[in-house]
């Protein structure tokens, strides 16, 4: 199996509105996949169906060869299909270390003992610390998360994702609201992720997409209209029309409309 994530005929309807319309998609193991599309194309809906926040009306989500359509968000996180949030979403009232510990405990499904046990807690703590080290937050481990700068929060965000021991990370418009420098930093972080971690980025910023992705899928009005390498997508006529707009020549700004 070379495909880690397979979507089969995925459909999501809100009443009469079909937000995601029979989308079939394959994400290669270790791939850097991006999902783009104009506003209202159904990116967020597709994202929530894959993440498990919403159940698909029809179709299946296969992850690592298993059907995970019936799993909740929690269940999918446990098998290694981890999502991030559009806005930085950390446990602000807790220390950086406790944030990481929560993620380690979550991914390991360790029992929630109602009393501390130094020996077993130490193992969790050590795992959490290695993840903090990998994102360069070791010396901030005791800081209150709410006291971190924006950049540090992003680092911690990645640390939390790593601590979940993911096979695939779903990024939900990660650069929304970021400055150019922060976007650059985020891109570096994604590029620095271990190769065995597959990423799927739902993104508005085309520069980021064309920089990060080795494969791009384009949604429009709930349908998949293109799927290929960045070069293929860039050259695709349907994509140009749907996403980048019609060429100016075909739509005169002045003069009489035929």
């Amino acid at each position: 199996m070379n495909d880690l994530l397979v979507l089969e005929d995925l459909t999501l309807r809100y009443g009469a509105l079909t937000a995601v319309d029979h989308v079939s998609l394959r994400v290669r193991r270790g791939g850097r996949h991006a999902l783009i599309g104009p506003n209202g194309a159904g990116k967020s809906s597709l994202f929530s169906v894959v993440a498990g926040t919403q159940r698909a009306t029809e179709g299946r989500v296969l992850f690592d060869g298993q059907d995970v359509s019936g799993l909740t968000e929690v269940g999918r996180a446990r098998v290694g299909l981890v999502r991030t949030f559009q806005h930085s979403s950390l446990f602000l009232g807790m220390s950086v270390l406790d944030n990481a510990r929560l993620a380690v405990e979550g991914s390991e499904g360790s029992p929630k003992r109602p009393w501390p046990s130094p020996r077993r807690d130490r193992r969790i703590t050590e795992t959490a610390l290695t993840h903090l080290e990998s994102v360069g937050l070791t010396d901030r481990k005791l800081a209150l998360c709410g006291a971190l700068s924006h950049g540090e929060r992003r680092q911690l965000e990645v640390g939390l994702v790593l601590a979940c021991n993911p096979q695939l990370v779903l990024f939900d418009e990660p650069t929304a609201g970021m400055s150019a420098a922060e976007t650059e930093r985020f891109s570096e972080v994604v590029e620095s992720l271990p190769k065995e971690i597959t990423t799927v980025v739902v993104e508005h910023d085309l520069d980021v997409v064309f920089r990060l992705a080795d494969r791009i899928s384009v949604l429009s009005a709930g349908r998949l209209i293109a799927d290929g390498t960045p070069e293929e997508v860039r050259a695709d006529e349907a994509v140009r029309e749907a996403y980048l707009g019609k060429p100016r020549s075909s739509e005169p700004l002045f003069g009489t409309v035929a």
């Binding site: 979403s89 807790m94 270390l97 993620a103 209150l144």
Partner: protein, 365 residues
Amino acid sequence: MQARTIRDDTGTGAGADVEGDGPDDRAAESGNNRTWRSRHVVLPRLALGLVLLVLAALPLFLAPYPIGLAGRILAFALLVVSVDLLTGVTGMPTLGQVAYFGTGAYTAGLVGIHLSENGFVQLAAGIGAAAVLALVTGAVAVRTSGIVFLMVTLAIGELVHRVADSMSLVGASNGLAGIPAITVVPGGEPLLLAGYVYWWVLGVFVVGMLVAYLVVRSPLGRSMRGVRDGEKRLHAIGQQTYPVKLAAYTVAGGLAGAAGTAWVAQTRFFSPGDLGFDVAAFALLSVVLGGAGTLWGPAIGAAVVVLVRDWLSTYVDGKGALMLGIVFVIAVYTLPRGVAGARWKRRPATRRPATRRPATGRDTT
């Protein structure tokens, strides 16, 4: 306790919080170990020891009435700590803990009248009954959150109040009277003198606080704080939150039950009025006054509330509720984060502007 040190480390004004990190975590971190230890480990322990010593020595100095008042403060403080476990630590504001407080008290009273005068037996029975009731009612209640949860818990409190008010087994509206004094050893002397009863109540309080601190520092406690700060995010990192909330609710219920048994061991009388809405409101008020999220803060808040209502008000012609209102208004202006959030001395400018955040707030995603 060390719990408050997180604030000093980070220099933020964010809500004081009970942290799961032990002193060992922190000592290893610090560059200057000795200074750090003396400031963050030794001093709080000294303060804790001093407070315990003073509390234990109270019966040697005070008359029976003030001792009774002190005992009631301790029992009420334990109830308030149980409210804080849900409100401040787990982020689920509740008005229902009086239901489990009353369950513990009535159970202990009934056991005392019909079965055993032993205080430990009554304590165990009270905790057990309260925890079971909390488990059953919580199974429904914790499916909700925020204001809906507050209303559901209010309903649970009122329901238990109505049942107590009409059930002849517990004396209905007349209350449960004729509860014998407790004994500590089987067949031993009953604790008739106020000073001994106070020591029993103090013991229950100290053990209850210890349990609360252990829970907060455990993996369960970490997940509880996670629920407060971002339940959705907790799902995304693979943690089920329903069992966490139900466990927190059950533990808090058991703790409230223990508070009830301590209360009734002292008053030897319990009536529906002791678990009315005003008690629930005062308990929530104490949490806000003391600083939600820390455990020692709300305990102090409980002391302030009871002292103002029952002691200070005797000097102003029984206007206890009015006095409480004034104290609360003053507290909101001068101590927006409660007693535990007060900053006693001016600190040099912090590294970063403090992130303002309501004490029980969660980040929305």
